[in-house]
Amino acid sequence: MSKSRAEKKQKEMLEILKKHGSRVYDELNHGSFPVFDVPSRSVSNIVYDEKLRQYILGDSSAQRSSKNTAQVRSFTQLMWLAFFANRLTQEKKSSTLRDVYYSSQAFAVDFKNQAESNGIIEDLEAVLTKPREDMHIFPEERSSIFGDLDIEYTVPGYEGKRMNLANHPDGYAIGPSLTSAELVDTSAELVIAIEKGGLFTRFVEEQVDKKFKSIIVDTGGQAARSTRTLLKRLHDELSLPVIILTDGDVYGEHIAMVIKSGSANAAHLRELTVPDAKWVGVWATDIERFELPTIPMTESDIKRCQDLKKDPRYSHGIWRKELDTFLKIKRKAELEAFSKYGLTNITDRYLPQKIELARSL
């Protein structure tokens, strides 16, 4: 089974790339200027899909034509990226956004800067409706995972090797090999995604994995796409419920929301959301309830709150209520704030309540 999944993915990617390559080849051969239809990622084309419970792209798309002098350069860049992705996929080599930027220089399709090359990568994702990780382009941010989970690697040199992710108490970095590994078996009944490395260590140390039969994931702030993919797979493939713990501020709330229903700038992709994930804290209402040490909200915190209130996903339920409470109390608290009551207060008292709560939702 492990081989088939990774290989299927590879085959799919190579086919779709070849299809686009052939089309362009044929058009050139007939003397006509080739074009791509690139789904528009402008704000006006990003809509919230109630059914999918995430942001998706609307129907609007823009033609990128090699005939248009303003577009021929970026058309060429897009073609080069497809060509480069094709090589990476065939050779099963991973690369980073930064690698892509530099690699282009060998082919005289130099990007002005990293931002331009990132933009073209998103364009290609939208054209192929595949995440860049499928093209073997990975982010550099690292997050970690810990817990009783057996995986089987598919990366070259490790094919078929297995690993239990509870063996190294500092946690396992989530990189290309973990993201592409098969998830074989687990005794866990829950995934706890937590925003901060410090708390991750505390959770491991306090054996939250054992006490609550859980897999602990450190998202490292806003969760990188590979982390979100892994969370989705834990949920979908192993049927594990996912709960999210963040700092008690508007950014924490949004970290949870992005895991649950995606971010606006990945509206062109649909494999990154965990719609059933539950945000369990730290809520604005917890701040009062647990009398946590707080910090005043800044101007920009308040602004961010007000902006989010316009987002349809924040128009109801807990999401709306907590935003309103933040705006009322105008203060925020960090996860570490529980240390005021002792280092293990968060795992001994707060977490059990919240897990209980999540079950009841």
Binding site: H20, G21, G31, A108
Partner: protein, 607 residues
């Protein structure tokens, strides 16, 4: 054209103590201000007589071995009409003596500047101003004049005359100055003045013997402006009061023509009848006498004088309340006052004279933009009666009349014939010669007005060609004076900066020049220094329309120019990128041979 009417309006000690007010605060600023005042006087004089100006400005250090600030000699030569011998001492030796007090456009405002420069020169070097004036191109009168500051009167030190071959005026003063600091400003001033006065030749010789020559670019001059009645929106109570006094004086003064004919009109034998004879005869023939004759008779009677005396006096005012006639006796050159007797037909006649014209005719005769119908409507609006005599209005009435004139909204906009814009063609020729641009367009907007003062905007945009500077450079002019300082707060700059130039295909660093010229009978300067124009909404609007018009023209030029460049660029782009696309898709498609794209490269050439 008639001779200039000179009249003295008031003196000068005040300015000696407050010279900062007129721009003479330090050696740098003073040298610059003195240059401006003399050059502008020369240009104004030529303009008013329709003479193509030749102006030469020379600045010399009196002692080259000294450091700045030091003494300079500043000399300005022109080919203007000159000043009549008898007016020279007062014109250059009296503060607030001048010929520019009417309601029309001129560079200077109160005849203050040149005398201030002379005064400044005198108090820093104690040397007289030297003036050479020839009104006929044949004889020049030369003067050396000091000012008696306390008395505000000229003290002639030397006077002579000699034969010359050219008409015009030369003025030369010594003053303390700092050319090392003022130099660049003076050079800018001369350069920009030449640009806005393309019909003038201007030469500047600086203290280092550099010579800057700007030859005239065209030989036609703009029409000189005419003096006209004030617009009702531009007057206050004091102005109306003066107009009423003037009206009464005009009314009374008609008698003067009747004086020589008095004995004839009254059928008297004597050449110079006595006032008794006149009164007696006039009483009998009263019904048959013309109004001006009646006036002459009434005055003879009031003053108890004979006809000859009447010929030698000028009636200044008649004050019924005080029962006095004020008159000027030319024999003794003194104002005199005589009592006015209080009854009889002669007194009634005088009373009527003083009552003055009726409001309706006063309005139509003494204001612009008030015809018979407008006058009627206005009088109704203000709550007066047409037949009311203006001489009988009391204080409350005057204030009401003034307020109503300010607030009545149906007067037409002010008459612009008192303005002298440069004209589109002269502005265009000037800018063409100065900038040699690839693109040039000018516009003169129609006349408009703010608070009763008419104004006209002229503007030109030049682009590319020999223009080396990067970014939009704006030259600002007002009544043909360049405005060099305090750019930041000027309305022209504001308008230019507010334009979204990108919309007109103009880049941030475009090689471009804008020249803007505001003409008005009164420029609303923000400061006494006359360096920036306040942002009155009416002026801002006109400036904006002018800039937008020119920007649209520039935009279509840029489009045309762009097309050719576009085609070339296109071909280059295809040649660069199509082969790359070909290479990448070949590998992607898993082919060995590249597609045949060569003919597509040629497409680029003629799309």
């Amino acid at each position: 054209m008639s001779a200039e009417r000179f009249n003295q309006i008031s003196p000068s000690e005040f300015f000696y103590r407050n010279r900062d007010l007129a721009g003479f605060s330090n050696p740098t600023r003073s040298l610059y201000t003195a240059v401006r005042e003399f050059v502008e006087n020369s240009l104004d004089a030529c303009d008013q007589k329709g003479i193509l100006p030749d102006v030469k400005l020379v600045i010399r250090a009196e002692d080259d071995t000294k450091q700045d600030p030091r003494t300079y000699t500043l000399t300005v030569h022109d080919n203007g009409p000159g000043i009549a011998e008898e007016h020279v001492p007062l014109a250059f030796g009296t503060v607030l003596y001048g010929s520019k007090f009417g309601l029309k456009q001129a560079r200077g405002m109160f005849g203050l500047g040149a005398t201030m420069a002379i005064l400044y020169g005198q108090i820093t070097t104690n040397k007289p101003v030297k003036v050479y004036s020839s009104t006929d191109g044949d004889v020049a009168h030369s003067f050396e004049i000091l000012l008696d500051i306390q008395k505000n009167k000229p003290v002639i030190q030397k006077k002579s005359k000699k034969k010359v071959k050219k008409r015009g005026l030369v003025v030369s003063i010594s003053l303390e100055g700092d050319y090392s600091k003022a130099g660049s400003k003076i050079r800018d001033y001369v350069y920009q003045t030449s640009l806005i006065t393309p019909y003038a030749s201007i030469t500047f010789e600086d203290p280092k013997d550099n010579k800057f020559v700007y030859k005239r670019i065209l030989k036609t001059m703009p029409e000189p402006p005419t003096i006209i009645n004030p617009h009702p929106h531009g007057v206050d109570v004091e102005t109306i009061r003066r107009m009423i006094v003037q009206s009464r004086r005009d009314n009374i003064s008609t008698y003067a023509d009747a004086v020589p004919l008095l004995h004839k009109a009254l059928r008297l034998k004597e050449e110079d009848p006595s006032h008794d004879a006149i009164s007696e005869r006039a009483s009998r023939r009263w019904g048959r006498l013309k109004p001006e004759v009646r006036t002459a008779v009434a005055i003879t009677d009031a003053l108890k004088c004979n006809r000859a005396y009447l010929q030698d006096i000028t009636i200044e005012d008649i004050d019924l309340d005080a029962g006095m006639i004020h008159y000027y006796d030319n024999n003794v050159s003194q104002s005199r006052t005589a009592p006015l007797q209080g009854d009889g037909i002669f007194y009634s006649h005088i009373k009527n004279l003083v009552a003055g014209e009726q409001l309706h005719s006063f309005l139509t005769d003494r204001f612009q933009r008030i015809g018979p119908k407008t006058a009627q409507n206005f009088i109704k609006f203000a709550g007066f009666k047409s037949e009311q005599h203006i001489g009988l209005l009391d204080n409350k009435d005057l204030v009401k009349l003034s307020d109503s004139l300010q607030t009545y909204e149906d007067f037409l906009a002010p008459n612009p014939s008192c303005l002298a814009p440069l004209g589109e063609s002269p502005l265009e020729q000037g800018m063409k010669k100065f900038f040699e641009p690839d693109f040039l367009e000018v516009i003169q907007r129609g006349a408009s007005a703010y608070s009763g003062f008419p104004f006209i905007i002229e503007m030109g945009i030049a682009y590319g060609g020999e223009i080396q500077s990067r970014g939009i450079k704006t030259y600002r002019f007002a009544n043909r004076i360049p405005l060099l300082y305090d750019e930041g707060s000027d309305v022209v700059l504001k308008v230019v900066n507010d334009i979204d130039w990108g919309r007109y295909k103009v880049k941030h660093d475009a090689p471009m020049v804008i020249a803007s010229h505001v003409c008005s009978t009164r420029i609303p300067y923000k400061t006494v220094g006359k360096e920036n124009v306040a942002d009155r909404p009416e002026i801002e609007r006109e400036l904006k329309l002018a800039v937008q018009f020119l920007a649209r023209r520039l935009s279509s030029y840029m489009s045309r120019r762009g097309k050719a460049e576009e085609a070339k660029k296109r071909a280059n782009l295809y040649a660069k990128y199509i082969p790359l696309i070909s290479q990448f898709c070949t590998e992607l498609a898993g082919r060995k041979v590249e597609p045949k794209y060569t003919q597509m490269l040629r497409v680029g050439d003629n799309v």
